[in-house]
Amino acid sequence: MYEQKQVDILLVEDNPNDAELAIRALRKNRLANNVLHLGDGAEALDYLFARGAYEGRDVSDRPRLILLDLKLPKVDGLEVLKEVKADERTRLTPVVVLTTSKEERDLIESYRLGVNSYIVKPVDFDKFVDAVKELGLYWLLLNEQP
């Protein structure tokens, strides 16, 4: 039985270093209180739809923001995005895609599937912190969820 706990941000990122840096960036902006990090797309879907290891979780208890890397093992980011935006229960959860370059082909596809925003993961950590700050402010503090 999965132990329910409050999740504000679901971070789906397979690279542990990138994940750690992202969490640090969130923490620097005081947004890291309830961050859940999952390493692949399949686990993220299990979590969101209360399947497998997460069976019994209350699906209506949605994260307030999903930070989604596009390149993931097993089920890739686009597939996760597609399922989230196709399901009535999760459709309204804001999804921010983390990309390596804004020229990626996947970016267009992400918008087609209904992504809310994206962050290019810059090599310069300080810039990443700034980008996370802006997004966190917008999606968690300013943007009122219905």
């Binding site: 990138d18 840096l21 090599v123 950590f125």
Partner: protein, 491 residues
Amino acid sequence: MRIRSLLALTMGASLAMILVSLGSLWYSTDRIWKANKDLSLANDIGDTVLERIMLRDEYYIHREERPKSQWLAKTATLAGQLTRARLDFQGAKDQEILVEMSEVGANINSLFAKLIENTRGMDSDPIARSLAAEYDQTLFSQLNIRASILRDDAARLVELRFGELSFLMSASNWLFGACLAVVVAVVLVNGFLIGRILNAGIGRLKEGTTVIGGGELSYRLATDSGDEISEVALGINRMTESLAGLLTSKANLEESVALRTAELRTSNEELESFAYSVAHDLRAPLRSIDGYSRLLEEELGPALSAEGARILAIIRGGAVKMDDLIGSLLEISRLGRTDLCLSAVDMRSTASDAFALVAGPEVASDFDFRVGNLPDAYVDAPMIERVWANLLSNALKYSVPSPRHSIEVGGRAEDGVSVYYVRDRGVGFDPRYADKLFGMFNRLHGEVEFPGNGVGLAMVKKIVARHGGKVWAEGRLGEGSTFYFSIPRRS
């Protein structure tokens, strides 16, 4: 049989027949002329014979000296005529008649002599006169019989000569007709043969060329008739063979082009996926280098020495620079792959806008920036904006240490291309290295002096090349530089 031989045969046969005709004409004319002469001689003989009869009768009635002497003269004439006839008339019958005429003529001569002799005796006694008169009558009737023989002979002679003449004339006509008939026959037969060969040959050629023209290049025309048509057919066959060869090589060429295109597409796709993975996989470790350096800096806090901070800053700077290079590489590769979206672009306002953008208001006011009248260009607008932005930011960058802050943009239409330039009065460059300016990551100045990754001009070159144009530069150290690019004009 060859058409040329048939034509030659026709000509030869016709010519030969014409020669034969001419020869026979000449020969028969000669013969006819001679026959005519003979006929005339025969007629003369007949006339002489007749005149002599009339003179004899006259003499017989009047017993005068004149008819007698005239008779004798005609006798001499007749003798001459007969002699000539004996020589001229070749026919055996003629000769027979002439012999008879000579004999009868001699007979007549002696009878006439006797008559003359007898006339002298008629003047004596009556008995003798009566005897003489009786003898005179006998002689006269003898003469009359002989003369009529002679007259018949002469008539036969004329008849013979006339027959000869008509025979010759009709023979000559026949010969002529025969020659004409032979010529006509040869012409007709050969004409028919040539017509048949041509007809059949042209039919074959027509059929064959229709089949070949329809694309059946393995078809070959028959070449065994041995005439000129088969030579033409041989030529057409060779032509068809070369055409088939050409088509085969064209097909091979197309095949290899298709193969190359496929290979090129594959390699382009590989390049694209390479670029994608470069972007992804090379950047992740860079992020770690930079991010963890930053974390280390924070962890150590005040414990970090100044030297330690400097080293960490270098590490972070290296990561960011490498990221910049990767970004530029990806961008250049993207420039080569994206399709051009061409439209008519106002180059003057594009250049002015680009300057305002790269300089910013503060720097812009510090520069003497002049734009001439630039010809419009038919180009990809966002790409050409990059060209202007790169060239102008270069001009700005290398003008900074110079006292003259002046940038001039100009252009002109040359044959087939529009040439544009950006001229500055900055630090310039050594013309010996002009060819290195546009190479990727090639720089003529140190990075401390002028920041940059050496990609800007390579990008300019790539964009201009994609438009079918060229780039080049002129400059002198300390005097500034001029960067040119050309864009082909659309007709």
